[in-house]
Symmetry: D2
Subunit: 360 residues, 4 copies
């Protein structure tokens, strides 16, 4: 009979249980200790192992419920009026995948929240509406559909929609589960609203231009000064790049939102990308470490993730867990499809944990 | 009656449960979703929150059991003959504190293991014995008591003790729980023993010298080339520094093992320090993020951690969880005490999550 | 009588010549040595000291002569058909100011040169024409008036104008005098024309977009991948920034061409900027280290440099030597003026030599 | 007849002078301009070109004269009592080689200077004496023979010898010629002596230890905090490294003084090295960019530089100009020889100008 603690390969734990050993294990347990070989094979897996499952959230299913929240609770009472999306296997940490949280927030015209901040970082991808804005550390930034906006860790932030706007819906992405797991999260509320320290859109306008950087600023923050990456600039840039670029076999034309001062990720813990799948694009399968949440920004298609097919159209949200084989396909032969995604690659890369495999 | 989902402060979720809301929550649940305000106050704590408890492992209690493992199992069968130390609140992830693993390994004269590697990083602090060595990516490094040795992630490594040596005991420190949590660990066994690529102690001797760096190397690894920090050099350096340095009120004379090519931590995910508490040193309390495992290298004293006193002497191991108030005291009025420690500060710092507080 | 070797201030050399000392100096000279105090005050000036004078080159004066060069010599015979601008005090090193070279190059439709490379870096600012292009390390980049293009050190490069284009004139900027002074220049000719390695404008299109960076490239060069900064993007970016930005009292709206991967200068030895002086802008005087060559890209105005007034209009070129007080004025009350400039700030900054003063 | 402005190779200027061209050149000259092809081949050499010649300064010849300076002038009158060594071809800029200055300074017991600072950086290599010290930005550092000490740019500094010491002689190395050429030098005198801000040798003791860095400092200067590299540590480190290292064919065991916080050069503009040539070492010839000044610290030997043999023994100083072929030989078959050197490699490397060749 083979012990449950063995693994029949040289270089792995292969110890048979015996009465003597079992007594030994018990004695160790009383001292807050254990024998490594009883757990080694479990805690040292041959390959990366995820605890998340791939999932898709259809916006058609959720939209009505999201909007209904604005009838049910006020922003004042709810803090933020958000429906969050939770992975079936990560309910204990309120994560959509891995250590990433995502939710859908709704704000009506004329509504605005008080400011707060936390060690967790946040980002937004705009889904619906007009007249929405955010204020981050005194910088007011307006946004439109498919714009990508960041709220870095420990920055005061508040959101709202202009009186003459239309109800705004956006996707929030946060690393709350990660920062909680690292036992480092905190929270503070601002007494009222922040005073503005610059004209509206000062930072996106100053830093967005054509490889130009403004003189005389001394940006010393560990995140992008760009704050907003506007779809009206991003989509043309994707199209221009697509003209001269060969597709990645896995991702089509994949571009990363970047910090123009470093060429790196937009924030310290989360990165984000926009990719264009040309009409008829059929992606090849691969897998890599890192957790990803996608939103379809344009067009429609499907992804095969961990062996399951997920069909998506604009505004649908889905996830790809770490080390899970996935491939993306544009379902249309005439229209391109665009996928926004955010991820924990800054964490994975900085800690030396990135790897990928094209073998399934 | 107050709802379990409320928090009576402006800027926090304060929604009362109603039948209508409860129906709404159930509907959301069927779609893999939830209302953020039902969990917000829990996942966004006011202050960092740890799930570990402070613990002390007395070497007097453990030593006999550790040595006994060498009677009970062979290195071949056990993989590595290690007693690991586990936090009462972190048994699910086999961690000593936070996401850090630690264990005590024993190797007899003439024993050696086959090589393996993993995405988790490892370090060793030598407790007993003579003639011990490690081979890391083809570099053989010998070690003695109180030496600190690194085995960076994905480096092939194997250990042994010379035939004419004495049984060696050392503390292992690894980030296995973290790398598992980040869903990125892997494992591979080397077929046999590694061929040596340089004379014994080539790297420690070449890089250890007095601010000198060898010409002609092209070290491009993201960890220290120093590999070994020998006590015979470290302790005199501590003493020299102590002559000209004022004590930190919390840590006495605290010095970090560093990568001489960057001034940063020795590895990407774990840092390590040695500190000297002068005779009679009485540390002040503070707390900060990051998890720490200590081993007393010399002398004796006590630490008050989270309100509990832990008395330690040479070779005892204890832990300080994240955001847990702690203070260190040298119990002797005549002899200095030295504490080795390792931590996850590279992770905490790179992700922008470090903070400290001198208020309890 | 005061000695030529003295300076009547404490902390400076103040030694009187004596017959004994003069004999001593002669003895030293025979050994390839000297007494420091005989030169100290000269080689250690109280303030930075330039050997260049401010100068202006009117394009109206030069244009005809520049074009005439295309009648007088062929590109094959001349290497490059360039009229270079030389500072009255830097003729020995063929510099326009400090260690910077500049010239005006003319290329006719259908002409193209063979490729070469050198350790000196080069940049171009386009003054006239249509259909011009450069090929840098196999990347073909087309350009139009007021575009800024780089040719980094040791990159193969060649230029030309399409058959159906119009005669192109551009300003060249190089650090030839600096690299010669540092005794590091070299030169090589390419046998023929370079094969293209990517579609035309591949790099400018891939890297120019709205804070997006292309995935999958591994740019490891120490200069900007952007290669071209097109006026059609730069001028709108200036205008957008001007809307939300307060003027620098010295420079109006000053923006630096930057490497989107680092936020730093476009090349290792030369930086470049574009600045907008609003209608009616009257700059204040200041001075700083670093040498600058300007070209007016739009509008007209004047600069007071070292006490002399220089009036400029579009296409005029002028220089500001190191530590020379200067101020810029837009002469128009209705039209903005734009000044392109390039400089040696990367050198000055990396060596820790930058300083400025608003006192004249 | 071939024009002096031509070079008979494709890709080089090969224009024949004609009366028409000569008239054209004159017209250009009146406008502060010239035709590039008349100077192109001269300012764009095929290979790096130095204006320095190799030279050796025998300490036996100089020592008496150096000491005599202390009879001839006081430190108060001379500023600093220094005999400087000047290259036969660089007298115009007071350089020993390239843009590097070197001199020999003498200070008697009980003497000390007032403090000053300058944008030029300085370093010292101690040749004779006891009780010498320097004070750099309030940090007093004592030194002994063969110690290497830095005085970074813009740091206040003063030197002296203790009352009970012995006359000290040291070599100064500065980048005065470079900083003058870059038109950025300045000078200021301190009113009196600096107050000390830390115990003697605080920085060398705190940062020198065995890969340890002190906690709690926030060193933000662009140069090494180590300030002194003591021979009593450097020579043993060289010997230890020599045990495990293969010789460079050109330089034996070559080690760089480094900044322990960056792994880079000790200062922004000058680097320094110590190398050990084993008994009987015979170096191979090579050449590279960068200028070097050597001092023999131990033993004797000879170097062949630019085809000339220079025999050196302890305390002799010699130079190797840029791109000049050189080889080093230990003349002894029983004793090792050590060469200290300093250089402008930080400049050459940061500007992308380093290259080497093993072909002569």
């Amino acid at each position: 009979m083979e012990s449950k603690h063995s693994d029949d390969v040289i270089g792995r734990a292969r110890v048979q249980d015996t009465p003597e050993l079992e007594a030994y294990y018990k004695e160790l347990e009383t001292l807050g200790a254990g024998a490594l070989w009883t757990v080694a094979n479990d805690i040292e897996p041959w390959e990366p192992r995820t605890s998340s499952v791939p999932m898709l959230w259809k916006y058609d299913d959720l939209r009505e419920l999201v909007l209904k929240s604005s009838d049910l609770v006020t922003p004042e009472k709810a803090g933020r009026r958000v429906v969050y999306l939770v992975n079936d296997k990560r309910k204990d940490v309120s994560a959509a995948v891995g250590w990433l949280y995502t939710g859908i927030q709704v704000t009506r015209p004329g509504e605005s929240t008080s400011a707060h901040r936390h060690k967790a970082s946040a980002l937004r991808f705009i889904m619906e509406g007009e007249g929405g804005y955010t204020v981050v550390d005194g910088n007011k930034v307006t946004f439109e559909v498919n714009d990508f906006v960041i709220t870095p860790n420990s920055a005061w932030h508040e959101h709202g929609v202009a009186e003459n706007g239309k109800t705004c819906v956006w996707q929030d992405g946060l690393d709350i589960p990660l920062v909680n797991a690292l036992e480092a999260n905190d929270y503070a509320v601002y007494d009222g609203k922040q005073p503005l320290i610059a004209p509206t859109n000062f930072l996106p306008l100053s830093y967005a231009g054509a490889g130009l950087l403004p003189s005389g600023h001394n940006w010393d923050k560990p995140y992008s000064p760009l704050f907003k990456y506007a779809w009206k600039d991003v989509y043309p840039a994707l199209l221009e790049t697509a003209k001269v670029t060969e597709d990645s076999p896995f991702d089509g034309v994949l571009m990363h939102y970047s910090n123009p001062l470093t060429g790196g990720h937009v924030m310290q813990t989360m990165g984000a990308s926009m990719q264009l799948l040309r009409a008829g694009f059929k992606g090849k399968p691969h897998k890599h470490t890192g957790s990803f949440v996608y939103q379809c920004a344009k067009g429609s298609g499907y992804s095969i993730i961990g062996g399951h097919r997920f069909d998506w159209a604009a505004r649908d949200i889905f996830c790809v867990p770490s080390w899970t084989t996935h491939e993306h396909h544009n379902a249309s032969e005439s229209e391109d499809a665009c996928l926004f995604s955010f991820n924990d690659l800054p964490v994975i890369e900085k800690l030396g944990l990135y790897q990928e495999s094209i073998n399934d």
